[in-house]
């Protein structure tokens, strides 16, 4: 049986098991176990065990429970509610203002989080219930949170860029710099999309009809007090990262401590609140981790049975102009992104792509930024769309995975538009790193 047939069978098995309603971690685990048993017999299970175990030693995942706990405390102590009330009043009678402000908050959070999971879960806990409460359309709200939350990957710091930079041996500092402008462009595209959609269909975003919202801007500013403490918290966490007091992961822990301090200041702190926030954190993080645990071993098995050689053959068989080769690579990443985990995608594609990109005379920094943008698409794209899973792990009752999948589709389109912009105008990614480092 050829590797192309096996590839197809693996994809079909994953899709079939997923459709059956089997938890996604179990789905990938089942396929990994079956493939390794078929190819290598019982000893092949070592491929599964060793890769699964390795997840437990991934320090960057430690930040996830910190962010989740921080968000839980902010949500349970009423701080999130006060923040969004303030934002809603500040936005006045502009349609869609809270959605736009959520995008802005997402960009700020992206600058303090290196991993997408932490940010999505935070926005899912804080922003989603509030947007629904304020009457925003469910699909629009979900889509914004998943898409804007994924910006954590593109706006530095970014663990994806670090892993990519190490694998491809390109400058991680330049990758960080390269991601800033495309990240802001994407955020602007999201904002534009929100405003256009709300203009075309006013039912998506109600106008705040509270009397305060009708006041002139200067008088509305005094209602900002609900936003003061959260922004001091965000400012403090960002300050700790960028002044060298803490590493990125430690900053997340300090944020969790800060959230508890705010709860104390607002007299919302209680044993019960902390206990419930902690237990909720366990459920959220536990479901995320067992998902990751299942997904990690497939790549090792796939590599060993010749997956890399197969893809290299596909690429070498192409007779296309250089930019089209890059487009094909992006297409491959996008397809792999629908069913594989991101580290797996990097392991499979970077060894093949990186030399080709340099050989064609392209700037590897530009390609790295494109790659990170593509990983954002991977986060959203069903069926294996981690952003959707992470949001599901904290979503209010009644929000099912299929609703989330439907909600993110238009935003995947927007992400592709952003990626095409950077593909055709490399200066969007290269201008800032060249300015800073050359």
């Amino acid at each position: 049986m050829g590797i192309e047939v096996v590839t197809l069978l693996i994809v079909l098995a994953l899709l079939g098991l997923m459709a059956f309603g089997i938890p996604l971690g179990v789905t990938t685990l089942t396929v990994s176990v079956a493939t390794s048993l078929i190819y290598f017999g019982p000893k092949g299970l070592f491929l599964v065990a060793s890769n699964v175990y390795h997840v437990l030693e991934k320090y960057e995942l430690v930040a996830v429970p910190f962010f989740v706990f921080m968000a839980n405390v902010l949500e349970r102590s009423g701080i999130a509610r006060a923040l969004f009330d303030s934002m809603s009043i500040l936005g006045g009678r502009a349609r869609g203002s809270v959605a736009v402000q959520t995008c802005v908050v997402a960009v700020i959070l992206a600058a303090m989080s290196g991993i997408m999971g932490g940010e999505i879960v935070m926005l899912g806990l804080i922003a989603l219930p509030q947007m629904l409460r304020l009457g925003y359309d469910r699909n629009l709200s979900i889509g914004i949170i998943c898409a804007a939350g994924a910006l954590a990957t593109l706006i530095p710091p970014s663990v994806v860029m670090i892993v990519y930079g190490l694998a491809a041996q390109v400058s991680i500092t330049k990758l960080f710099a390269g991601g800033v402008i495309p990240g802001l462009i994407l955020a602007a595209i999201f904002v534009g999309y929100i405003l256009i959609r709300c203009r075309l269909n006013p039912s998506l975003a109600p106008i705040n009809d509270a009397p305060e919202a009708a006041l002139p801007l200067r008088q509305r500013l005094k209602y900002l007090k609900g936003a003061v403490l959260p922004f001091i918290l965000i400012g403090a966490v960002l300050g700790m990262i960028y002044s060298g007091i803490t590493t990125v992961t430690e900053a997340a822990a300090m944020g969790a401590v800060g959230a508890m301090i705010i709860a104390i200041i607002l007299k919302q702190f209680s044993y019960r609140m902390i206990r419930d926030a902690m237990r909720q954190t366990v459920l959220t993080v536990g479901s995320i981790i067992w998902l990751v645990l299942g997904a990690v071993s497939l790549v090792g098995i796939y590599n060993l049975i010749g997956g890399i050689s197969f893809l290299r053959g596909v690429l070498e068989g192409l007779d296309l102009p250089p930019l089209a080769v890059i487009a094909v690579m992006m297409g491959i990443v996008m397809i792999l992104g629908t069913f594989l985990e991101w580290i797996a995608i990097i392991f499979i594609t970077v060894p093949i792509f990186a030399p080709v990109v340099v050989g064609l005379g392209f700037d590897p920094i530009w390609f790295g930024v494109l790659f990170a943008m593509n990983i954002q698409i991977y986060y959203l794209s069903p069926p294996f769309g981690p952003a959707c899973f992470f949001l599901k792990s904290v979503a209010p009752e009644g929000v099912e995975l299929q609703h989330i999948f439907r909600a993110v589709l238009p935003f995947i389109g927007l992400q592709i538009i952003g990626m095409l912009l950077v593909l055709f105008f490399p200066q969007l990614a290269l201008w800032l790193p060249n300015l800073l480092f050359n």
């Binding site: 060793s50 400058s171 500092t173 050689s309």
Partner: protein, 327 residues
């Protein structure tokens, strides 16, 4: 040709990886008259980087081309064999130790303690000398005092601590932001060419080159059954191939390092620091104490250090009696 599937410790974009793939992977087929070819895979491609011995012993991988220091947690001997901090001056010296000075035998003994005779050492040795990444000027042992330096590994952290620095245990994923923002002031990383590629020198502008601390060794092993199934000629060819490849690679990496250092010196925004020999000797003396304490942790470590010391004495690197291992 029979394909050897070998997992390495290289990142796929590493200069050394590209160089081996381009120049040396094809040569194995020539050198074995078409009997063997080699598929060198990047780090973590099949199993996590610490798990290759088990995968090789089981025959899932045909071999590994990786850093023995990864297995320090299983036997302290791997720390001594993997990277004798501040030990040798050039990769060639350590390659010679492996080939002729008992290095291979010491490594085989250490691997036998964890893999039950299922792994065969084909060769070992380094291909690069690491440059130390630093965000502040460090020109002497005295300057190390109070420096927060990222150094997760046992022996290196111990040496830095003895020299007065403050080792900080950070995962590599945190190093970039930590160095950029000043959480740490220095970090162990890789060869100058790699540090240049990943942008470390852009954020930490006082690299120490040639490095003072690390010259990580690599091991080339094959599954024992597979090894025994090969003809004597092919076994010999594999051995020759490894040393020829690594000597050539070491030369190529050194040339790249020199070229980039010359470029950065000419440009002037990066200050490349070269320690005077007296300071290097002082640092090696400090390291020697750390080695001998560390070697007490296992009999294999003790034997590995003694083999090193004997060889260093023979080639004149070690002044004095050189048997500090037994102190």
């Amino acid at each position: 040709a029979q394909e050897l599937r070998v997992q390495s410790s290289f990142n796929s974009g590493d200069y050394a990886y590209q160089y081996l793939q381009e120049h040396w992977a094809p040569k194995l087929e020539e050198m074995t008259d078409g009997d063997l070819s080699i598929n060198i895979m990047a780090t973590g491609a099949v199993v996590p980087y610490k798990e290759t011995p088990d995968a090789v012993a089981m025959g899932l991988l045909d071999g590994d081309l990786t850093a023995p220091s990864y297995f320090t947690g299983r036997n302290p001997a791997f720390a001594i064999l993997g990277d004798l901090t501040a030990g040798y001056d050039s990769p060639q010296q350590l390659l010679d130790f492996c080939r002729e000075g008992g290095g291979e035998a010491a490594l085989q003994t250490a691997l036998d303690t964890i893999a039950d005779g299922q792994i065969h050492v084909v060769g070992c040795g380094p291909y690069k000398r690491e440059a130390l990444v630093a965000a502040v000027p460090i020109r002497s042992v005295a300057d190390l005092k109070g420096i927060k330096i990222r150094s997760p590994e046992g022996l290196a952290a111990d040496v830095f601590q003895r020299a007065g620095a403050t080792p900080v245990n950070l995962p590599f994923s945190e190093v970039f932001t930590a160095l950029q923002q000043g959480v740490v002031e220095a970090a162990d990383a890789s060869a100058y060419v790699n540090n240049d590629a990943s942008g470390l020198n852009d954020i930490a502008k006082y690299p120490i080159y040639p490095g003072i601390h690390s010259m990580a060794s690599q091991q080339f092993t094959l599954n024992q059954d597979l090894w025994e199934s090969l003809s004597d000629e092919d076994q010999q060819a594999l051995h020759e191939w490894f040393y020829a490849a690594f000597e050539d690679l070491a030369k190529a990496v050194h040339e790249q390092d020199e070229k980039l250092v010359a470029r950065d010196k000419a440009k002037g925004d990066i200050t490349v620091i070269d320690w005077p020999q007296a300071e290097r000797d002082k640092f090696r003396e400090i390291a020697r104490q750390a080695w001998s304490d560390y070697a007490k942790k296992s009999p294999e470590a003790q034997a590995a250090l003694q083999a090193n010391l004997d060889y260093m004495k023979k080639i004149g690197l070690m002044k004095g009696d050189g048997d500090s291992a037994s102190q």
